[in-house]
Amino acid sequence: MSIDRRTVLKSGSLAMAASALPWVARAQSPALRRSLRAVMQADLRSFDPVWTTAAITGYHAAMIYDTLFGIDGEMKPRPQMVSDYGVSDDKLTYTFKLRDGLAFSDGSPVTAADCVASMRRWAARDTGGQILFKYVADTPVKDDRTFQLVLRERYGLVLETLGKTSNSLWIMRRREAETDPTQQISELVGSGPFVFNKDATKVGVAYVYDRNPNYRPRPEAPSGTTGGKVVKLDRVVWENMIDEETAVSALQAGEIDFYETPPLELLGRLQSDRNIKVEVLNKLGNVGFIRLNWLHPPFDNRKAREAMLYLVNQSDIMKATFGNEEYYRTCASLFGCGTDMENDENTGWFKSAPDLKKAAQLFKEAGYDGRPVVILQPTNLAMPNMAAQLLADWLSRAGVKAELAPSDWGGVVARRAVTAPPGQGGWNIFVSWNPASTFASPILFPGHIANGRKGFFGWPDDETHERLRVDWTMAETVAERQAIARRMQANAWNFVPHVLAGQWVAPVAHRTDVRGFVPVPDLVPFWNVEKV
């Protein structure tokens, strides 16, 4: 018997094709048609959305829990688990009635007692909830489906706080909701659109959510976190994939369907793949900010903080980090751009910045004495890392001795809490970011707090600002809030709580056979999503 070259080539080709079959089968198996695999922004570290404010835990909560109110696409609060609600004439008593037939995934009905217990636990930890509960006198349960929120004095943000999309009020069973808020809950039972599949989940590897057969969506079309949360998938799996290059390859190979945070430098590769769609879901995006330490020189002096307004070139930070202008913009508003509260009050500095000469002059007027300015530099996060390096350069050019303190983000998070002088383990500058939707609220973004050492890192202190924050919460209309926001901004850019670094959006990438994502700030919801 003889074998010629052609036979060998033919056999080889067939063998190669046969060896590829299992791969093809894996990609197209009918069993996987209604299952979606996603790589999210971070590993799910904790399952309790009250215990931690980590964004990914909020995503997890949105899968398995529901909220009393939500925020629609126009950023207005609308009832979600609540069917009817009313406010007394004196605006001190809010009465809420739950929708008929709401049930937890274990089959037990959702009661008013569950809602009150959930609300109280959440209010013990969440900043917005804490402020709301300063005004709450009582939360009486009227019947199984009705409860009230009785206020001591009027508060203008009751529904907005109950429906907010970050660190939301998730309704749990009473038995979990009565857990000490400083301890994590152990049972994950909600009344949301999905059920957490504990058995199939491997912590740190993959988190599995199955469709909740007991869930009853509202009849309206989905809008923001309100309306019908109709589940069109049987299963959603969040894969924990650290390596960005691997995640991009896995998306291209069809091993995953959705990638929340594809690196911008690899977007071109994804955009050139006809099986992949790149789109921006969160149109408001994020606002970067440069936090200044008020406790130590030079930024304990107002002139030095004002100098930073003239020193920073937002465009350079954004360009160095994101490259493509399609995804970033510069912004001078204390409340972020594109938000309800955006305004141009007291932004003359923005028109002339960057102005290094002016910045140098202001540092001189501040009495800068040549001591090093310590900038915390998280080398594992692109934007703060770039911003820190650029700040060091700009400060040097303005005659200020800058010293970078590199570490990972964990190191920055630890060091920014240190109140000691920079030479003794403290700091002068760190850079971070927050969702623009949160940035727009003087209540929800902790960086807007200016009550000194009790507040957010940097510890700015300004009585007028604090008084205006209270006024803002009391306002009953958006127009009134906007007017107060203008006054806050006019004052803030005089005392300078922080400096803005720019605003950007982060596109997501998914297979073209996946569609139906509802745009929501601070969240990627998987209801309404389907594989076609």
Binding site: V203, G204, G410, V413, A414, I449
Partner: protein, 314 residues
């Protein structure tokens, strides 16, 4: 021999205590505060302080160490700060992918490297020898992740023969298990092939220059028998030593390879834990890795006497 083994076991206990102390100190003295990370980016100073108190992170370091060491001696490596799961359970859960990858890598590396090394020595100075050496330099110089991305691009994205990432337990079938491990094992194995092949070649060349090899050849022993029976066995000690060092180096390589290929092994577990400052997991995994390293070294030492009868532990 038995006395030697007993002495080494005693020294292992001392090494492990020192390792435990170092692991504890290094982790607790490194910058990073789990309370601040757990509390989230929007937590205020007051909220972080309250959480630190709840987690017992304000206790003096010696007290924390005594508490931890006592529990470890009782077989309790603690629980994850974040998930609340027992660390020992998490390590056991992640062992299969790591052990599978390590064994397959060493199998590929040892079989391939020793063969190539012996061949290069037998054909010293030839084109084969030079090719092997060029390959060895390349294999040792190119970083693991570059090799990994290259193989993914060729075999997963372009040819679509193998999966990009992930792991299937062997219980679900040998074929899918192997499919998920081929690329990681080749990626990781390449550096070891290069390392072991170079040492094998050098050791073989030394032995092949010995008088007894010349005598064997003069007696008419076949070249294959000279290489495998007379030369390779006598070159065994440096080869086994380098394989032992390779196993130790493998621990670092596994961490990178598991990250690139998204294998849910112990390496990934510790990388995740480091980024979260999940102290109990970092301590537990480092302690286990230290134990593996020490035991591998002991086995290598003991194997010398088996390979080379001239080595005695009396």
């Amino acid at each position: 021999m038995l006395k030697f083994a007993f002495d080494r076991l005693c020294s292992i206990a001392v090494v492990m205590v020192i390792a435990a102390l170092l692991v504890f100190l290094l982790i607790h003295l490194a910058p990073g505060d789990p309370a601040a990370i757990i509390a989230g980016d929007n937590a205020t100073t007051e909220q972080v302080a309250a959480l630190r108190h709840t987690l017992g992170l304000e206790d003096p370091l010696p007290l924390q160490f005594v508490r931890w060491a006592g529990a470890v001696l009782g077989g309790d490596l603690g629980v994850s700060i974040f998930s609340g799961a027992p660390v020992l359970g998490l390590i056991v859960q992640r062992l299969e992918p790591t052990v599978s990858l390590a064994l397959l890598t060493m199998l590929v590396a040892v079989v391939l490297a020793v063969s190539v090394g012996v061949l290069a020595a037998a054909k010293a100075g030839s084109l084969i020898d030079r090719t092997v050496m060029v390959f060895a330099v390349l294999g040792f110089s190119v970083p693991v992740f570059v090799v990994g991305y290259f193989l993914i691009y060729v075999f997963s994205i372009t040819l679509r023969w193998l999966p990009v990432q992930g792991y299937t337990p062997i219980a679900e079938g040998v074929r899918p298990w192997l499919e998920h491990l081929i690329l990681p094992a080749v990626t990781l194995g390449l550096a070891y092939v290069a390392l072991i092949a170079r040492i094998t070649r050098a050791a073989m060349l030394d032995v092949l220059a010995e008088d007894y090899v010349r005598t064997a050849r003069a007696k008419g022993v076949t070249p294959g028998r000279v290489l495998l029976k007379h030369a390779l066995r006598n070159a065994g000690v440096p080869i086994v030593t380098i394989i032992g060092i390779g196993v130790a180096l493998l621990i670092g390589g596994v961490v990178i390879t598991e990250t690139v290929f998204n294998l849910p092994g112990v390496g990934r577990l510790v990388v995740d834990a480091i980024s979260k400052r999940d102290y109990p997991i970092i301590q537990g995994v480092t302690l286990v890795f230290s134990g593996v390293y020490v035991v591998v070294n002991l086995l290598i030492d003991l194997s010398y006497a088996l390979i080379d009868p001239r080595v005695s532990y009396k």
